[in-house]
């Protein structure tokens, strides 16, 4: 038998297959069950998708590398629940391509940031964090308020999201740029369509305080205000036994 093994090893390809076999099985065994996990995970029928404006804000969050310092995952530990709110459920990030759970808290967790502070606070905080939190070490993001948001390709963004499994409708895709504008311009005719497509609870506001121009600040604040608020599932008692510590 070991003569065979020895010959196998003499042939380089044997080594290659050995390494692939040994190394891949761990990953397959561990990850495969996660693809059927929806069978055990709590359902959240009230869960809605991100609006185009929130998605654009999320992309700014990604672009600026916010995830390097802020987690979006409250662990099932008493102090975290008391500090940040109900612990995060798997279902809450089911539309997050990619997830932004993070790995480091140079700043606080943001999983339940939505509606904790006013839009004005967020805008001031982004323009200069130390104006509102003197000890903050966060970089200033003043440029967001003077950068116009790119909306022409939002339809493509939604389409790609649908390709990876997020249930955007044709109407959502077709109206994506208008909806992005409408959500930040409450008095414009486009605002109605946002509520129609994404639900009454959708926040339609001039997030950056200026209703007429659509900036990256609008998008980012809209995203920060929806964090933890796509579903109420986490605020209800949870049945899933497997995730209790």
């Amino acid at each position: 038998m070991f003569g065979f093994h020895y010959r196998l090893e003499r042939k380089t390809i044997g080594m290659v297959l050995g390494i692939i076999g040994v190394a891949s099985i761990g990953g397959i065994v561990e990850i495969a069950p996660l693809f059927t996990i929806h069978q055990t995970v709590e359902a959240a029928p009230d869960m809605r998708v991100y609006t185009p404006l929130e998605l654009a804000g999320r992309n700014i969050y990604i672009r600026e590398g916010c995830y390097a310092c802020h987690s979006q995952m409250i662990r099932t530990l008493r102090d975290e629940v008391e500090r940040y709110g109900p612990y995060s459920l798997a279902v809450e990030s089911k539309y997050d391509h990619p997830m932004l759970w993070g790995s480091k808290r140079t700043g606080p967790d943001l999983a339940r940031l939505g509606e904790k502070y006013s839009d004005d606070w967020h805008v001031a905080h982004m323009i200069n964090p130390r104006d509102v939190v003197p000890e903050s070490v966060m970089p200033a993001y003043a440029f967001l308020a003077r950068t116009e948001l790119r909306t022409d390709d939002l339809g493509k963004h939604l389409k790609a999201q649908r390709a990876v499994g997020v249930p955007y409708t044709d109407a959502m895709i077709a109206n994506a740029p208008a909806d992005a504008y409408g959500q930040a311009s409450p008095d414009s005719p486009a605002a109605e369509g946002v509520v129609e497509r994404y639900g009454k609870a959708t926040m339609v506001r001039a997030f950056d305080g200026k209703p007429n121009d659509l900036t990256e600040m609008d998008a980012l604040v809209a995203y920060l205000q929806i964090l933890g608020r796509l579903t109420d599932a986490a605020h209800k008692p949870v049945a899933s036994a497997e995730k209790q510590p």
Binding site: A23, R63, E92, R105, M138, P139, K159
Partner: protein
């Protein structure tokens, strides 16, 4: 360099560069109002410059047949210099962002200068730029010697090295423009990922072709580690980066996975990047350079094989310890924890094997800073694998996760193990490659060693302190049963440690700059000596006996 390629290889190079230029043009046109267009222009310019370089040397005489009597080391030389360039750049950026956490105003109101965009320049620059170039360069060196076979051709090693560095440049410049997938340590977007796959497959095939030409029936264990590095990194890279671009004209893509699957895939990748990029590859390096430099064979060859399979197997299961107490199912967390603890066995077998190899050569360790780099690396490897297993235990992780302790742990591994073994291997191979008796200055090697060690210790102690204080402050309750400290309180407590960490980083960076200077001067004196003594030895094919260490 072009003179070392055969006629057909020169033609092949031109074809590749032409294809690259066309691809760059397509990207530039298709993504004209997108960062993709900028990268397209960059690719096109690089390809055109390369084309001119090949055309300029096109009619140079072909390399003589006698080249086959020696190993092909020019790519290794290039890779070592590239690694050192990346080291200096990426460590400087790293130290800069460390200062940013103490003095956050230093971003000049510019998007590119903020912490979030610069941090991946540091992480990718150090891991892929510095570490990756060092691995590729040393693997070329080691696989040729241990197989006693020359690289099968002169073109593919250059394709691998230039292609890989192009990937690194696209990655780093992309972050500055805000191009990122946000997957930690896998930030580059889809087009850079595809390019890396092409380069990586070429690298793998090159490795196999060289091994298949080997004279020795048995494949030396270093090559096992290097091969695991190449293979598994390919596997991880492809799976974790599966994504749908929003269009062919845009840099932006959306990950195929979402939420909990994405988290598990990302940390399966992330942890195994540590395992197969930052451990396996560098163990391969250590198993060649340390015995060679010490003049003694590995203490136990058997143990090196057992720990090889142990590492290859156990690491794959350990990734979920990054997700303790999260929305990941608990059985996956427990599995990750168990395997992480078991990982200590093969890890310590490797570290012990390395240190036992030095047994009987301690006088050399005392006198030779190069060997000392390798010894300290083995010690830090043992320390940080112990720390890693410890931090993977759920209750410990409850405290350590999300804090600076993790950052300290990573740097104990990255500075203490990866960088130290690399510097040791580079200092060992530079004189061998450029045919010198030793480095330009042994004193500067000594200085580099002490700066690196001091920098690592300052850094790691600062982060241990800040991390544990942070973790404790976040979970401390006062008598009335409410949380004692606000988040901002913990932030204020971090300030002195953030400054200490940045100072530790300055030490380490200074060491790397000195190392770069020393290597540069060794190369310069080598080329001067060569041009005076033997102007054309390579043309007539006289093999100069290599100067070997372990005297």
């Amino acid at each position: 360099m072009i003179g070392e390629l055969t006629k057909s290889e020169r033609q092949g190079a031109l074809l590749i560069l032409l294809a690259l230029a066309v691809t760059g043009l397509a990207m530039a046109v298709g993504g004209s109002n997108d960062p993709l267009g900028t990268h397209g222009t960059l690719v096109m310019v690089v390809a055109i410059v390369g084309t001119f370089a090949v055309i300029t040397g096109y009619y140079a005489p072909e390399p003589p047949e006698s080249r086959l009597d020696s190993y092909y080391d020019t790519p290794t030389k290039f890779g070592i210099v590239a690694a050192m360039v990346w080291a200096v750049i990426a460590m400087a950026v790293g130290d800069w962002v460390a200062w940013l956490l103490a003095f956050p105003e230093w971003t000049f109101d510019a998007a590119w200068a903020s912490f979030g965009r610069l941090r991946p320049v540091h992480t990718s620059g150090v891991i892929f730029g510095f570490g990756g170039n060092a691995l590729i360069a040393t693997s070329f060196y080691v696989m040729q010697r241990t197989s006693r076979a020359r690289l099968p051709d002169q073109l593919s090693p250059w394709f691998v090295l230039f292609g890989y560095n192009l990937f690194c440049v696209i990655a780093a410049t992309g972050y500055l423009m805000g191009v990122t997938q946000s997957k930690e340590y896998a930030e580059p977007e889809w087009y850079a990922d595809i390019w890396l796959v092409i380069v990586w497959v070429t690298y793998f095939v090159l490795y196999l072709r060289t091994l298949n030409r080997r004279k020795e029936p048995h494949i030396y264990v270093s090559n096992w580690y290097y091969m695991a590095f190449i293979l598994v990194v390919a596997m991880l890279h492809i799976v974790n980066n599966l994504a749908v671009p929003i269009s062919w004209g845009s840099a932006k893509s959306y990950s195929l996975f979402a939420g909990v699957q994405d988290a598990m895939t990302e940390w399966w990748y992330g942890h195994n990047a540590v395992a197969f990029f930052l451990t396996s590859g560098f163990l391969g390096m250590m198993y060649y350079y340390m015995p060679k430099r010490a003049g003694r064979p590995i203490y136990s060859y058997r143990m090196s094989i057992i720990s090889f399979w142990g590492i290859t197997f156990f690491y794959m299961w350990a990734g979920s310890h990054h997700l303790h107490y999260t929305a990941l199912p608990q059985w996956v967390q427990s599995l990750g924890m168990t395997f992480s603890v078991m990982l200590l066995v093969p890890s310590w077998v490797s570290a012990g094997n390395a240190l036992m190899t030095l047994n009987g050569a301690w006088h050399k360790v005392r006198d030779d800073a190069v060997l000392r780099f390798m010894m300290v690396a083995a010690v830090f490897y043992g320390l940080s694998t112990f720390e890693g297993s410890f931090m993977a235990i759920r209750p410990v992780n409850a405290l350590s996760h999300y804090t600076d302790w993790t950052v300290g742990h990573v740097h104990a591994g990255a500075l203490g193990w990866v960088a130290m073994i690399t510097f040791g291997a580079i200092y060992a191979s530079v004189p061998w490659l450029w045919k010198r008796d030793g480095m330009y200055s042994a004193k500067l090697v000594e200085a580099h060693f002490w700066l690196s060690l001091a920098g690592t210790i300052i850094y790691v102690f600062a982060m241990w302190n800040s991390g544990i204080i942070q973790g404790l402050m976040w979970r401390t309750y006062n008598e009335s049963g409410t949380l004692a400290y606000s988040f901002v309180d913990s932030l204020i407590a971090m300030h002195p440690y953030y400054i200490a960490r940045a100072i530790g980083g300055v030490f380490f960076l200074l060491g790397a700059i000195i190392g770069f200077y020393n290597i540069w001067m060794t190369i310069r004196t080598a080329s001067q000596a060569q041009s005076q003594a033997e102007p054309d030895y390579s043309a007539v094919g006289i093999e100069i006996p290599a100067v070997q260490p372990g005297r």
